[in-house]
Symmetry: C2
Subunit: 190 residues, 2 copies
Amino acid sequence: MPRKSQEEKARSRARIVEVAAAMFRENGIATTGVADLMKAAGLTHGGFYRHFASKDDLVAAAISHSVSTALAELRGAEEPGARAKALKRYIDRYLSEEHVGNPRDGCPLAALGPEAPRSSPQVSKALDEGSAEAVRVLAAAMDGRREAASSLMATLLGSVVMARMASSHQCRKRILLDGQRAALGIVESG
Amino acid sequence: MPRKSQEEKARSRARIVEVAAAMFRENGIATTGVADLMKAAGLTHGGFYRHFASKDDLVAAAISHSVSTALAELRGAEEPGARAKALKRYIDRYLSEEHVGNPRDGCPLAALGPEAPRSSPQVSKALDEGSAEAVRVLAAAMDGRREAASSLMATLLGSVVMARMASSHQCRKRILLDGQRAALGIVESG
DNA sequence: CCTCTTAGATGACAATCATAATCTAAACGA
DNA sequence: TCGTTTAGATTATGATTGTCATCTAAGAGG
């Protein structure tokens, strides 16, 4: 099967990015091969370089994409009342067992952040900008309290990383509850 | 060069574990090969399987080892006064630019924790036990306040992960300062 | 001292990897 | 409508991977 229309090319690209974002979060960057990834997107590995200059190029795109979609629901609210409500729902979702158990469509920073120091400049930059944007969006939902937003994000990230290390269901639950208490404490400390 | 004494074998094994712990934290598990690792330990790759059944076996050993040594300085203190002092120094070191910039001899949970969900059962277990022990030791240094210890650890982990994503020196510094404020707040909230 | 065991070296193995060349048929510009 | 361009398939490449078989010489046990 040969050439596709430009519209379909764009669709292919979007599909690759989305599939890649999920697979990288689930299996890690280094352990996810270009061939597997393309197969999961319904293509063969040969066409990959018509869309991306290199694997790292895709990794950066996948990170940017998944950060944006992860923050989308938090960006929506405009008035302070709706903002506070959206933030609380966001925290609740973030510190849920569902999020802990499904990295593939969860927070990309919690799943891939620690790979930042050992990544290429491209990927490093995507993570840098992604985390900066996350703090910005959180701060906007907290009446501009940047410092509290930074603490909140640390609590969220750390709690999920901890919960994912815990094999026991009970332990995970306790960690998430502790995280929720701490997070709400930070939000209401203004 | 052929056989070595049992004492030297033990020394070799210890060297491999130590080198591996450093390399895994610096370059990640998947991207650190057995051959590179053995070369860094002053050996060739052939002898590896006289010490470990598999790479995962070594990974688990390296994690356990590095968790233990990372918690050693916190385990020392006995009386409450010395405990509180040791804890504050620990937090200060943990949230330092030196720690952020040198994952190779830093906290293994911050560097490798997020790889837990995608690791083998052996490795997963090592991370599970390591994080549980970390919370226990932190709680012991906080008069047994387990809940606060869990929150503290989340703040520590999250802050370091965030700081490592930030490319700008200023941004890193700000994140670490916010983390320190939050951490001290948790410690003194009892 | 003699035999048996084995730590580590050397080299090979099948897989897997990112990347690239080649091909083909359909979409495009004219 | 005709020639050019190109999305994606197929196949190749060279490097790297974890693991293992084989060889060596020296330690350990008698």
